[in-house]
């Protein structure tokens, strides 16, 4: 997928002016928040489970090499094969070589962010293999030629009308006068079209929410059951997953599953949680003849042991996106690559470099809601701050911002001068605001006053009041 993370400011302008996108974001955003809050309230142990989930992943990350080796041994023991890929190119090559050996022409796909990360669909097409996304949201964005705009709801930016128009354009073999005004009819049409693809597919490709070292099992979590048909019907099942998806045991996987769906969609559990261990055994009624796991690094091992390590605990639930005021205002495409929202702003610079993604860590108000809701207790604002530090240290920050920061730092390091300055500035702004108590325009803050008035500071400064109360 083409990276456009460096285009963030321009993408944001477009997103804010896109009334259809703005409508979609206001429609769906609050629903995710309400549902998660309800699910959390219904489970008194939710926060204790978050602690355990965090501890499980921290334990894994400090023993990752050992668990990966154990996982690989277990996959091989159950008749599967493991392919290691350092880069996106190697991952694509591994998958294409399996498909070519099987003379595959059609590959069905379950939802996988890693597949987006490695640009798999394009590579398959180049190799003469037709990829068909089977998750409804992924299918929609595939026929539109778009990237996902949300980690768990890839087509969250689309309206029913847009979907109807896309289906009419893509499914030209169906009656042009059919009624597609209701959502169930759209779903039924997608089901009809996809059903035959499941049966015709030579290879099924899925992601994995977890890889279990204890048993060599991969787990997928879906709400449509499409993953199950994708991985059981074709001749080969290929799993593509990144190194940090490992958990030690089945018990550990179930603990994290307890917080995953609640954080993502507000469900107690997703509709389908499917465990795959190796290919079909002689006594199995169905299943693939071959089972492959492609394990991708793509820069993640470089993050281990650094101040960014905590990002590797992420289970891609999307809660931080749903609660982020910036994501909710601009949608996922503005972030310009695969992973949007707060976690995207942390992961993208690690995977494609801060030079190309320097705007993303600045796309945060540091309100802290992302950290508050993250089931894996990832300190997202702290990680974003680390990226801002790197941006500054590498001299990627524009001159005007550096100058502004150095002026501010000059005062901030001299408390007396700072207090004096803020007192004067507050009085001055008060005078300028007059009786209205608001400013319609302010030098150096036009970005703010272009859309709203700036209320002038009221009364004395916080520090002055603090001092007074301490005395009293």
């Amino acid at each position: 997928m083409e990276q456009q993370a460096s285009e963030f400011p321009a993408n944001v302008k477009r997103a804010i002016a896109d009334s259809q996108l703005q409508w979609a974001m206001t429609e769906t955003g609050p629903r995710f928040i309400e549902k998660r809050a309800k699910a959390r309230a219904n489970l008194p142990e939710f926060d204790a489970l978050r602690d355990q989930a965090r501890d499980i992943k921290d334990h894994v990350l400090s023993h990752l090499d050992l668990y990966l080796e154990r996982y690989e041994a277990k996959v091989v023991q159950s008749g599967g094969q493991v392919h290691w890929a350092e880069t996106t190119q190697e991952a694509r090559a591994a998958i294409i070589s399996i498909c070519k050996r099987l003379d595959a022409k059609l590959a069905t796909k379950g939802k996988s962010m890693i597949s987006e990360e490695i640009g798999l669909n394009h590579a398959l097409e180049q190799a003469g293999i037709t990829p068909v996304e089977t998750d409804l949201g992924e299918y929609l964005i595939q026929i539109r030629g778009e990237a996902p705009s949300h980690i768990i709801a890839p087509a969250v930016h689309l309206s029913r009308d847009q979907i109807e128009a896309d289906f009419r354009k893509a499914h030209t073999h169906l009656d042009p006068n059919r009624d597609l005004t209701e959502i169930p009819t759209l779903v039924e049409e997608a089901r009809q079209v996809l059903r035959q693809k499941y049966l015709d597919a030579d290879v099924g490709i899925t992601g994995a929410n977890f890889l279990i070292a204890e048993t060599g099992t991969s787990i997928i979590v879906t709400n449509e059951g499409n993953g199950d048909l994708t991985q059981t019907l074709p001749r080969a099942h290929i799993v593509i997953a990144s190194i940090e998806k490992i958990v030690p045991t089945l018990e550990d996987a179930t603990t994290i599953l307890r917080v995953l769906a609640r954080s993502a969609t507000g469900q107690d559990f997703a509709n389908y949680t499917t465990f795959s261990t190796g290919p079909r055994r002689p006594e199995d009624p169905d299943g693939p003849n071959e089972y492959h796991v492609v394990i991708l690094d793509n820069g993640r091992s470089n993050v281990l042991g650094t101040e960014f390590q905590d990002m590797l605990r992420c289970i891609r639930c999307g809660a931080c996106l749903n609660h982020c005021p910036v994501y909710q205002a601009v949608g996922g495409h503005a972030y310009g690559w695969v992973y949007p929202g707060p976690i995207g702003s942390v992961v993208t610079p690690a995977l494609i470099g801060i030079e190309k993604a320097r705007h993303l860590p600045n796309a945060s108000t540091f309100c802290g809601r992302c950290e508050e809701v993250c089931p894996m207790r990832i300190p997202l604002p702290r990680l974003l701050r680390h990226w801002r530090e790197q941006e500054f240290e590498k001299h990627l920050t524009p001159g005007a911002v550096r100058w502004g920061l150095s002026v501010w730092a000059f005062f901030a390091k001299r408390p007396k001068l700072y207090q004096f300055g803020t007192r004067i500035a507050a009085r001055l702004l008060n005078l300028m605001g007059g009786r209205k108590g608001k400013l319609a325009s302010l030098p150096l803050a036009q970005g703010w006053t272009q859309y709203r008035d700036m209320p002038v500071p009221q009364g004395r400064t916080f520090q002055a009041m603090w001092k007074e109360r301490k005395r009293g």
């Binding site: 489970l43 008194p44 142990e45 204790a48 489970l49 355990q52 499980i56 334990h59 400090s62 023993h63 990752l64 090499d65 050992l66 668990y67 990966l68 080796e69 154990r70 392919h83 290691w84 890929a85 350092e86 190697e90 591994a94 070292a213 204890e214 190194i243 030690p248 045991t249 089945l250 018990e251 550990d252 179930t254 603990t255 307890r258 394990i295 690094d297 091992s301 470089n302 281990l304 042991g305 650094t306």
Partner: protein, 100 residues
Amino acid sequence: MDSARARILARIKRSTPKGDEAVRIAAVEQRLQHPQHNLVPERGQGDEAHRIGVFTRMMEAVGGTVEVLDDVNDVPVAVASYLRNTNRPICPGIVRRRSK
């Protein structure tokens, strides 16, 4: 790809906390050989009566109904009376085939 495996694992090893390798291996073995029980929410524990109570509450929360029967042989009568009381046909498939 084998060298990719070696390089990935070597990089991971380099960045893991420095210390006694035997301790790390023992920690992994311990966890895999003797999987610990993690937290199971209170509602999933307790005796059978408690669990039936939780199930009923959750089933009703999503619009379902629950009837407790003493004997498995009572199931057909209970199902038939549920269908009758809710104005549902006993089995549309069978009715259609019989009427042919």
